[in-house]
Amino acid sequence: MAEIPKSWNVPSPDDLVKDADHSPASMGLQKGWMSTPVQIKKGMHCHAALPKRFKALGMPNPRDWSVMDEDWKLPKNWKEIVLDGMKERLGKFRSFQLFMDICVRCGACADKCHYFIGSGDPRNMPVLRAELLRSIYRKNFTLAGKVLGPVAGARDLTYDVLKELWYYLYQCSECRRCSVYCPYGIDTAEITMMGRELTNLLGLNIDWIAGPIDFCYRTGNHMGIQPHAFKEMIDFFVDEIEDYTGVRVEPSFNRKGAEILFVTPSGDVFGDPGTYTAMGYLILFHQLGLDVTWSTYASEGGNFGLFTSNEVMKRLNSKMYAEAKRLGVKWILGGECGHMWRVINQYMGTMNLDIAKGSKMEEPVSPITGTKFENAISTKMVHICEFTADLIKNNKLKLDPSRNDHLKVTFHDSCNPARGMGFFEEPRYVIKNVCNHFYDMPESTIREHTYCCGGGSGLNAGEDMELRMRGGMPRANAVKFVHEKYGVNKLACICAIDRAVLPNLMEYYVPEVDVTGVHEMVANAMVLDGEKEKTVDLRGEPIPGKEDNE
């Protein structure tokens, strides 16, 4: 067992989840949840947003505050702001109005939440998380709640209630797993999104979200990488690729007249192991001779606005179409990212297609195979796994999967492409063509039943390691299962947050398993024109059986 870093502040894996009692005395007969006060625990929440994050986007109530402080420095009329905000959203989102009214508390969702499984905290049952907000709704917007109060499940919005609500809104990763099992399709992600919009009216965002949205608005990406630095990082990859493969790739930036604009989460450019996936994209584009450009302005595929409010999401997303129009590209190719693809599939066209009016964009067609991507005819953005699957199907890639023979791979379906898109077969098809050993995890933990990595929806910070390790437990549990059964040593995923979160999770629970993006494996299996004899992979690690025989 590897050492667990001290800064994580978590006990050993077995000790951590031991206290997760799922039917404790606290759920007994004497005390209901409304009369059980909440203790905000260190390690189970993220830090408060710094005031400097508020300026560029013009978010309300910038100030220094801390979650552990008694006083959160709210505006005097905070209650009015929340209730007015609720009223407005009830009238703007049918989902919100309906989900406030129709829950029967059957409890089918109760044991479906990874945070409940890993923590045993009853308020992490999706139904109860929603009831935190529903109780306020009943008190202020329904006759029964006004008249009967707690008997009708209604309660006043007090300072403590607000804190409780906040704590649990930022303990939900908006993964939508519960909504799969709900007989009425009640989606806790939708309720959390509404709740988070309300917290943002009071300036109660977390810094791990407020930072990225501020950066993204100003510099074009969550990491705050400025244009020259963005180019430098990719240039660094170019050198690395040449070292390992002998091939020099030539990416272009902000190039007008390119056929395709490529947008991927900046995490792939910034942090391992995403960087190897970014190198994979570069190699793929080069080998195909694809007329593609990167953009430093639209240098972020991800969108932490999704975790803030629909307006911020729209503001950040707008640069994709704006840049596509400015550069005159025909369509956009999107990299491997989870919530980015929920935004593209379910929000982007609705929010921002107007921006693309008058541009040169048209129905996406693969210049290599001639395939029309008919399922993207309106949004004009194609997932790189769709693109690559089509290449492989049409024999346009020279692949040597034996270069990945030392890998025993399983695939983690990221929540958003799974339940906000239905993206199951494309990545599996690609993986099975570039690796000879693939093993799926148990049925109840993959595809639409997939579990969150534990750090989705902006919760992948460093200060909430306990929350992440607890929430990631069911996912790690399934990885451990295939590791023990089949010797799986690689966990593939198509999400930048996963690539940031899962390595920690694996280190903690299944240290023998390493995390990779799909296109890292694609590039490792690709036979390139003019390549030197490959002895190392994109990480510079020797490929077993292909080592230098010196």
């Binding site: 560029a56 989902s95 508390r105 609705t350 339940r419």
Partner: protein, 351 residues
């Protein structure tokens, strides 16, 4: 609010609701000679029906008035993708790309509780050892309850129609298929009792479900159990005067209400509780009956990359344009060899 208090409150409410018609229709006439049958046999049922219809229409209108800004189906199967990627009938229903698929999904959801059927149960072992088992009991009890309720509702049409429509007779025959008693015992009565008992017991016995339960969860269970109970009593034990009852019910539906002689107090209790159920319906969680049809995670197709979904209130927001971005970073961009729209004068560029 806690479980004990919730049970006491809901149980107490039901006792009061039973006592009201009992006192009014049995005690008052016998002790004081006051007759209130007209109130419980005519006025309250009419009022309840009005509250039910007006209330439900109001509810549904309120939901419908709130727009659906985004297309947010929960996709529970493979998306429609490249033509050679498997997209079979299960995918077409669980991740529909067309209206037809959505119809399929909604029919399965409304008639067969598709999502509930997916239910699995997590078994927590020690620490990290967790296991999943199939869990269909809740689904079975829910199906049992709802279909029995429907059958019973249809059977009751015999009291509101003359002549009786053919399907009422068919339902009665099916329901009384196992003729092991006289009068014919309807299975629906027994099954609904069993299903409701299961739903009640799981609420009390499963700690998580008990913890989330409100009086508003116990009350409808008690109410419907009592309604079923009084119905069964009338049919099999205390033998109500069916002919008089039908005179009353026919009077109600033909809008020529009258109170026949010889109707037992048990019937008034039954009728009063049914009236309460109808009046309570639009203000309670029971509105899920209408709500399920409008749920945006179920009734929309996953085709928003193919056809643009329109948000009626798509907000105007301030964007950070490329021009502003270039203004912020122009010199650094030029120095890095990145193309720019506006060149700065070479003298300014050099430091």
């Amino acid at each position: 609010m806690n479980a004990v208090l919730s049970l006491i409150l809901s149980g107490g409410a039901i006792s009061i609701l039973v006592a009201i018609p009992f006192l009014a229709v049995w005690v008052l006439p016998h002790v004081f000679g006051i007759h209130l049958e007209w109130l419980f046999g005519i006025v309250i049922p009419y009022l309840a029906a009005i509250i039910f219809f007006v209330g439900m229409i109001y509810r549904v209108m309120k939901w419908a008035k709130s727009p659906v800004p985004f297309r947010i189906p929960t996709t529970c199967s493979q998306q429609k993708s490249l033509p050679w990627i498997k997209y079979d009938y299960v995918d077409k229903i669980d991740n529909p790309a067309t209206k037809l698929g959505v119809w399929g999904r909604m029919i399965l959801e409304v008639l067969f509780f598709r999502s509930l059927f997916r239910n699995t149960r997590l078994q927590y072992g020690d620490g990290q050892s967790i296991k999943y088992t199939s869990s269909k009991w809740l689904w079975l009890a829910a199906m049992g309850f709802h279909y029995c309720f429907l059958v019973i509702l249809i059977r009751h049409l015999r009291f509101f129609t003359e002549p009786m429509p053919f399907f009422v007779k068919i339902i009665e025959n099916i329901d009384g298929f196992f003729q092991f008693f006289l009068p014919v015992v309807y299975q629906s009565g027994l099954l609904i009792g069993a299903a409701l008992t299961y739903l009640l017991l799981r609420r009390i016995l499963i700690p998580q479900v008990r913890y989330i339960s409100l009086p508003a969860d116990y009350f409808p269970l008690f109410l419907i159990l009592t309604i079923a109970g009084t119905g069964i009593l009338m049919r099999y034990v205390l033998k109500a005067d069916v002919v008089s009852i039908k005179e009353l019910t026919m009077g109600l539906v033909t809008f020529s209400p009258m109170i026949p002689e010889g109707i037992s107090v048990l019937f008034y209790i039954h009728l009063f509780l049914v009236s309460v159920l109808f009046a309570y319906f639009p203000f309670s969680k029971l509105v899920h009956m209408g709500g399920v049809f409008l749920s945006p995670t179920r009734n929309l197709s996953n085709n928003s990359r193919i056809v643009r979904h329109i948000n009626p209130w798509n907000p105007k927001v301030k964007l950070h344009t490329y021009e502003e971005y270039e203004d912020d970073f122009r010199e650094k961009m030029i120095a890095a060899g990145l193309p720019v729209e506006k060149k700065v004068a070479p003298t300014e560029q050099k430091e």
